[in-house]
């Protein structure tokens, strides 16, 4: 019998930060994750974490404005205010837990510049900031004796009387299925990058959390907002941090021109990510690329500087492409990187389902709107991870006994057995690749009505094959083949919401850039798209909209 006050799905930054908060409050908490916490994708965040340090007089409003401008005014400004004003303390707390942030000459936290921001307010650990923070939060979890269900895979949320009361899961190491009861569940299960191919995301980023909430009736918001990172390594798609440009790196086209001059004369390479990615794609599409890439040039920074500040990038460049960045520019291209959209929550991580919270990339509070600033994702995870944990602690006081029902585990066991019992059919990977390539093709850096309809058509085809694939491995222990099948089902849900959102939004805003409607339309589309799972609606999705919260920054034209 597994029971906890609070159960957190996901052991990355948001999940562990929430767990620390719940533990401190004295409640019983556990983390459940399909991978060991230190394998979480928070690792991959390289460049840093943004924070105005209000304790030394820095104005959080500057960061808030840059974030809102970066979001192309789609972020909810009350949420951004919370994030920006709590950012300083959130980062300082991480330092006090043990994160080895870079320092200035006085031994205080030192910054680097990052894209889309007027001030340098990004705190960092080399080019391994995410990893360095994740490992410190993991250290804290060991210190606190946190309960972790490692390599347990959640298949379904238990919803009773409209409230979330736990999960059904598979212990991958034994193959046994278990109910874990909880008075509150926080989904901190990361993004859905694998819905696209290629993507910088880890193979584990399959939108599990988004789909779990979506199936439980929670709307997914602004799912059409897909971030393409401007610098992913040629062919491999490996992320090359924005820190490369933050530290002074140039982007060059085939004739050696710093082409950002043409679109962002003030910010140059440090314009917002959507702006830089579009500029790169334009160079490539108009024949000024180098084998489908542009060049990231760090040579002028010098070997010593590169190795001290950007060591991981040098490691990746040398080992994967054999290019020494001190000697040669490295070819890069825009690559799918992050999903701004996600499970709709309020500023305390609450969803519309009582007892169900979401935080981190899977959530949409919304602080990133139509385009996330670099180094705001780590900030989002710790600020809203903490707030979700804190609110959940209060919420569970209002909940009586644990659920007694065994219905969900019965139906889940039957569903999964049926999946295993299917006759031999298509391979899961074949269906997944078809889905993901179609998504990238239709919902790219540039998109239009025809491309998005193409994505929909592709998805309809993929959905029609969902009953036809089969699981080859029938064993119990560490059956990843089964897990990939379940993940594919989650990903198709996410893809469905992305396509629906994209087809709904009749304007260009942030990452949603339509070549057939190139202007932002504040009059009609200063709105969030909300996707509900609804079998009665066209393509199984009901799309609604809601107003964006504006507090003190009226939308203006976005120039970098």
């Amino acid at each position: 019998m597994y029971e906890h006050d609070v159960l957190i799905i996901g052991g990355g930054l948001a999940g562990l930060r929430a767990a620390v908060e719940v533990t401190r409050a004295g409640a019983d908490v556990a983390v459940i994750s399909k991978v060991h916490p230190v394998r979480s994708h928070s690792n991959a965040a390289q460049g840093g974490i943004n924070a105005p340090l209000t304790d030394r007089g820095e104005d959080w409003k500057g960061h808030a404005f840059d974030t809102i401008k970066g979001s192309d005014f789609l972020a909810d400004q009350d949420a951004v205010e919370v994030m920006s004003s709590e950012a300083g303390e959130a980062v300082l707390e991480l330092e006090r837990m043990g994160v080895i942030f870079s320092r200035d000459e006085n031994g205080k936290l030192g910054t680097r510049a990052f894209g889309g921001q007027k001030e340098a307010r990004t705190y960092f650990v080399g080019a391994i900031t995410g990893s360095a923070i994740l490992h410190v939060l993991f250290e804290q979890s060991l210190k606190l004796g946190l309960n972790v269900y490692e390599e347990w895979f959640v298949t379904k949320l238990i919803i009773e009387d409209g409230a979330c009361r736990g999960v059904v899961s598979i212990d991958l190491k034994t193959g046994e299925m278990h109910t874990i009861k909880a008075k509150a569940v926080i989904i901190a299960a990361g993004g859905a990058g694998r819905v696209f191919e290629p993507s910088t995301n880890a193979l584990i980023c399959t939108g599990d959390g988004l789909s779990l909430a979506y199936r439980a009736g929670v709307p997914l918001m602004d799912m059409e907002m897909i971030q393409y990172h401007p610098t992913t390594l040629a062919r491999t798609g490996i992320l090359m941090s924005e820190a490369a440009r933050g530290e002074g790196g140039y982007l060059l086209n085939s004739s050696g021109e710093r082409f950002m001059q043409k679109v962002a004369p003030e910010y140059m390479e440090l314009a917002s990510r959507d702006v830089v990615s579009r500029a790169e794609q334009t160079e490539i599409d108009e024949g000024r690329g180098v084998d489908g890439n542009v060049l990231l040039d760090l040579r002028h920074l010098g070997r010593e500087y590169i190795e001290a500040k950007l060591g991981y990038l040098q490691e990746v460049s040398v080992e994967f492409l054999g290019i020494d960045m001190a000697e040669q520019p490295v070819p890069v291209q825009p690559g799918m990187h992050y999903i701004m959209g996600g499970i709709k929550t309020n500023i305390d991580g609450e969803t519309v389902v009582p007892g169900l919270y979401a935080a981190g990339e899977c959530a949409n509070v919304s602080v990133h709107g139509a385009n996330r600033l670099g180094a705001n994702s780590l900030l989002d995870t710790v600020v809203f991870g903490r707030r979700s944990g804190a609110h959940a602690v209060e919420y569970i006081k209002t909940v009586g006994d644990h659920s007694k029902s065994e219905e969900d585990i019965k139906s889940e066991k039957a569903r999964i057995q049926a999946l295993l019992d299917r006759p031999k059919g298509e391979r899961v990977a074949t269906v997944r690749n078809d889905m993901a390539r179609g998504m990238t093709k239709g919902i790219g850096v540039f998109r239009d009505q025809a491309s998005m309809e193409g994505a929909l058509e592709n998805l309809v085809n993929v959905k029609s094959r969902m009953d036809g694939f089969s699981v080859e491995n029938k064993g119990k222990v560490f059956n990843t083949d089964l897990m990939f099948a379940l993940e594919l089902e989650f990903m198709v849900d996410c893809a469905e919401a992305v396509v629906a959102g994209a087809l709904t939004r009749k304007e260009s805003r942030g990452a949603h850039y339509r070549t057939d409607i190139t202007e932002r339309d504040d009059e009609n589309w200063l709105k969030h798209t909300l996707m509900y799972k609804d079998e009665t609606a066209e393509n199984g999705v009901r799309v609604e909209t809601s107003d964006v919260t504006i507090t003190q920054w009226e939308p203006i034209k976005r120039v970098y």
Partner: protein, 326 residues
């Protein structure tokens, strides 16, 4: 071999399989052949096997960018992170690659090992910052240099490659292991941590602690992140000695060695053995004696009067100059 026209290459893999469901578990070798892009990594090839060839093959992988630490396994006998191991580098002429699960850890299935060994070792070093005070607000003050120094340790992604190939763990499961010691170093070197002396003393005194490393350098060679655990262990030993931990055979061994070279320019092997065992450790000395007697009979015992380097006086002077300068 690379076929430039088809833009694919054939990769031959010989994979050690393990199925725990069979009674008592069944181990076998299975050969695979896949076509992949010529720049592919070993992981790309394994994923190709898993997705297009044999869905029953189990392995862990996530980031594909050498940062999550999931995909440690043995390639041709030594532990590697397969996502950063390019096929052309380990099989330049299309040789068959032998893939096995990591060593020194219990195999769960195929290439997946249990994480319990690794993390129970990590847990032994109280792997979290233990400061003497927490600032009411703001951060700890610390030099940038001191933080950059710790990057070497923080680069550890806990992949387990060093544990896999550790030659001491092969014979002694009680050894705390290279990863845990490197993790401990990350705290003993952190100016914000207040438990440096206790940490050093514990690792010095504990069975299976810092002195059980044989300095074989396997961990340095296989670490995919430049943590060089053995170098960290040597720094721990140096720090433990400096902090006054002089109660171990390891310390006496090092000290005796240092002084022998200082005095004679060379090594006094007899003295080294006796010093390491400890002058008062009668059982250990008796234990060494029969070997010595056997060696003497064969005419190969170390000389009772140690030979000296011709310039031993100059070596001694040099020692003194360096010691004075420090």
């Amino acid at each position: 071999m690379t076929d430039a026209t088809a833009n694919t290459m054939k990769v031959k893999l010989k994979i050690k399989r393990f199925d725990p469901a069979e009674s008592g578990g069944k181990t076998w070798w299975q050969d695979y052949e896949v076509d992949v892009h010529p720049d592919s990594t070993v992981l790309d090839s394994l994923i190709e096997v898993r997705e297009q060839n044999d869905g029953t093959l189990a392995l862990r992988c996530a980031c594909r960018a050498s940062i999550c630490g999931s995909c440690g396994m043995k390639v041709n006998g030594s532990a590697k992170l397969v996502c950063k191991t390019r096929v052309v580098d380990v099989a330049p002429n299309g040789e068959q690659l032998t893939i096995e699960p990591m060593g020194n850890q219990h195999v769960v299935r195929d290439l997946v090992v249990s994480l319990d060994t690794f993390f129970s070792q990590i847990n032994r070093v109280e792997p979290y910052l233990q400061p003497s005070f927490v600032p009411e607000s703001g951060e700890y003050t610390a030099s940038n240099e001191s933080m950059e120094n710790l990057l070497t340790g923080m680069n550890c992604i806990m992949c387990g490659c060093c544990v896999s190939d550790c030659t001491v763990l092969e014979v002694d499961a009680n050894f705390i292991g290279p990863a845990a010691l490197a993790k401990a170093w990350r705290f003993t070197e952190d100016p914000r941590d207040s438990k440096r002396d206790e940490r050093l003393k514990n690792l010095n005194d504990e069975d299976g602690g810092m002195w059980d490393c044989t300095r074989c350098m396997k961990c340095v060679e296989v670490c995919p992140k430049g943590v060089a655990p053995m170098d960290r262990i040597m720094e721990l030993r140096e720090a433990a000695i400096e902090a006054g931990n002089t109660n171990t055979s390891g310390y006496h061994h090092t000290e005796s060695f240092y002084n022998s070279v200082k005095k004679h320019g060379r090594l006094d092997e007899t003295r080294l053995a006796i010093d390491s065992a400890g002058w008062t450790n009668i059982p250990r000395l008796l234990d060494l004696a029969p070997i010595g007697i056997a060696a003497m009979r064969k005419g190969k015992l170390p000389p009772v009067f140690p030979h000296k380097a011709e310039d031993n006086k100059k070596v001694k002077d040099l020692y003194e100059r360096v010691e004075d300068a420090d």
